[in-house]
Symmetry: C2
């Protein structure tokens, strides 16, 4: 099945992602900043009157702010009343799912132009409480009661992958180093710094200094969270918002000479609980979503020029690069170690720093991925620009793979 | 704007709505029951393999169950993996918005058949805590901190309406009596009983007995909640689920000889806070959503044969019947009192008992409204059947009107 009419992105924006910068704001203020950045990015300008609907991703605002009904709130605070607004929630995949809903709305003929945003204000809870809130995306009947957390669940996946394919923690470390390098080229990132720089800052509090990032990553300054995942294998708690503008391809050129076209939509559901899965070294919903997206885009994994994948933990990126077909199963770790996913590698992954270093404000993550692909395909990614990028992919995972969204964009 | 292809409903189902019947179940169990009822309602049968996606409405599960990411969970528990699934949230309008998203998905050509469900398990919290949880749909920065609750906000609207138009509490009572009468003909309703029957049950605990429903409604056995709203002006706390099946009209007849067609989609956002509205005796988003839905369906209010409107409080039904254009502004109360919205009136409203008496499991309410319209337009509503019903409307409100969804269906 395909869309009744083609859909394009004509604008994208985001706030700085950060753990403390937005501490004094509530989510509507962060969101509005991203919307302003997005609307002002439209090359030929856009009047708010041209926006027919607002679709937002927001995941855990109930826990972090005591607020639901975000869509109406954000329509009000961005001055867009009385347009229709709705919130989409698929745990950490919420805002890429929001992009999908916007695309379906445009393709259906109901809307011409839809604004898609995502926001999360997470810093209001301490890490322990935030971790508990994030467990709402996991099965509350089976996994929550036994006390596992998201880091522990991904750690199980890491151990399964290590055992089955002989992959090693050093390969995960290579992913962290690469993503922090990319983030060091992205001023909107939460940690726009190399691992070594951050490591020495952290280490100095313990009287330690490091000459090599691996020295830091192996040290007590990078503590174990859940074996084999250490602190720098985990994405942080982040406040932030991001947005993109979706319109019908037939009208896109009235907003910009260089729209980016949505060519593939993939979306699949998987079991919420890991115990239901026969193989923890893969995420079945990624395989399914990728298959659909590639089929719709009529391309193959080898045709993808860059990818934003869901690296909530370094092991998640490793597994994703295999499940998406960039590397054979079991070879994702070695590929990362060999730099094949670096900015100048054969398939640059997480050019913006990824969830690991750009930050992971849950409900904003998916749309921020789309924003990065939009910038890259328009050659607007400054120092992290990938040469000759024509096709970009985003891969956004809800929880441990209960939801996976894969979307493909082309110039 | 219209849809690229027409959309139809080919099945509908629901659980009994109830305050205690489902107490031992968690939401997935309640949801599955509604899905089974819906799928088995398809006249010519449907194979689960024909279902391309699942869209669900769920509103406050974070507070009531500590669970988010419901869509994936429900796809799993209904045996529908790995189809795409997503949750839509617009407070109390969540599941009619889910119907809208499903319709856009089908109209876009992406999907052929989409299952839409809504569920809420609310009985796990005591009323005070539940009321607090429901306040998450209101503005947490302005209304929540001053201590108002949903009953208080609707009470303000009632007082404004009384003052502006001279409407009276007795007119609200007439709405409660009518909706309980309709519910007495609906075995799926939470309270399938006349007001008088319930009143005598409640009164007997205080040694009171009543011969007329108004005697009970004016008595201490029907206590004041927020002036002028008494207990029987308020919808209850409810557990329940409902579902409908949406498909492309061109294929609908392979599932049933009597599909029901979606002819009008209206959806608008309004301010979250009442203090931002110049007139509390109307809900601006209802006016806007109705205008859109009527325009798309190419009909007028007078062409509607029956309507399910959002009577979270009796005053909400009164205002809705005016805002939807069934009666002139200020005449909704008198119309109710005169029986013009009764089953045999000129425009039967809430034939299933409404939120007031059928129950209001937040995330299931919108899709339950669509289910009732589906049954009515197929002449399957038994004792509450409206004669010669060809066009039905649903009106679903998020919180106090931050979101309003209006949908029109025809035979």
């Amino acid at each position: 099945m395909g869309l009744a009419r083609e859909v394009a992105i004509i604008g994208g924006g985001m706030t700085r992602f950060h753990h403390s910068l937005h501490a004094d704001k509530i989510s509507r203020e962060i969101f509005t900043e991203a919307i302003e950045d997005c609307l002002s990015s439209v090359d030929k300008g856009i009047s708010p009157a041209k926006i027919d609907a607002l679709v937002i991703g927001g995941t855990v605002g109930e826990f972090f702010e005591g607020q639901s009904h975000y869509a109406s709130l954000m329509a009000d605070w961005t001055g867009l009343l009385p347009i229709p607004s709705l919130r989409v929630e698929t745990a950490c995949a919420s805002s890429s799912t929001a992009v999908e809903v916007a695309a379906l709305g445009v393709a259906s003929g109901m809307y011409e132009t839809v604004l898609v945003g995502g926001v999360e204000k997470m810093s209001s809870l301490k890490t322990e409480k935030a971790t508990e809130a994030l467990m709402s995306g996991i099965d509350i009947a089976y996994e929550y009661p036994v006390g596992v957390t998201n880091p522990a669940l991904y750690a199980m996946m890491a151990n399964a992958h290590f055992k089955k394919y002989g992959s090693r923690w050093e390969q995960l470390a290579a992913i962290a180093i690469k993503n922090h390098h990319n983030a060091s080229l992205n001023p909107k990132a939460q940690y726009p710094s190399e691992v070594l720089e951050l490591g020495n800052k952290i280490g100095s509090k313990q009287g330690l200094s490091f000459k090599d990032p691996m020295d830091f990553l192996k040290s007590s300054a990078n503590p174990m969270v859940s074996y084999p995942l250490r602190l720098f294998d985990c994405s942080p708690i982040t406040d932030g918002a991001a947005a993109v503008l979706v319109t019908a391809s037939c009208n896109a050129k009235s907003y910009t000479d260089t729209p980016v076209y949505l060519s593939g939509l993939g979306h699949a559901s998987g079991t919420m609980s890991l115990h239901e899965r026969p193989d923890l070294a893969t995420i079945p919903a990624t395989l399914e979503a990728a298959k659909k997206a590639y089929a719709m885009a009529k391309i193959d994994a080898k045709d993808v020029d860059l990818a934003m994948v869901h690296d909530c933990f370094t092991i998640a990126e490793l597994i994703a690069t295999e499940d998406l077909g960039f590397f054979k199963k079991g070879e994702g770790g070695r590929a990362a170690e060999e730099g094949r996913t670096s900015l100048d590698g054969e398939i640059p992954v997480n050019t913006d720093g990824g969830l690991k270093a750009k930050g992971h404000p849950i409900g904003a993550t998916g749309v921020a991925m789309v924003n990065e692909v939009y910038k890259q395909l328009r050659s607007e990614a400054d120092k992290r620009q990938v040469n000759n990028a024509e096709t970009g992919l985003i891969h956004n995972v809800g929880a441990t793979g209960g939801t996976v969204v894969v979307q493909i964009f082309r110039k």
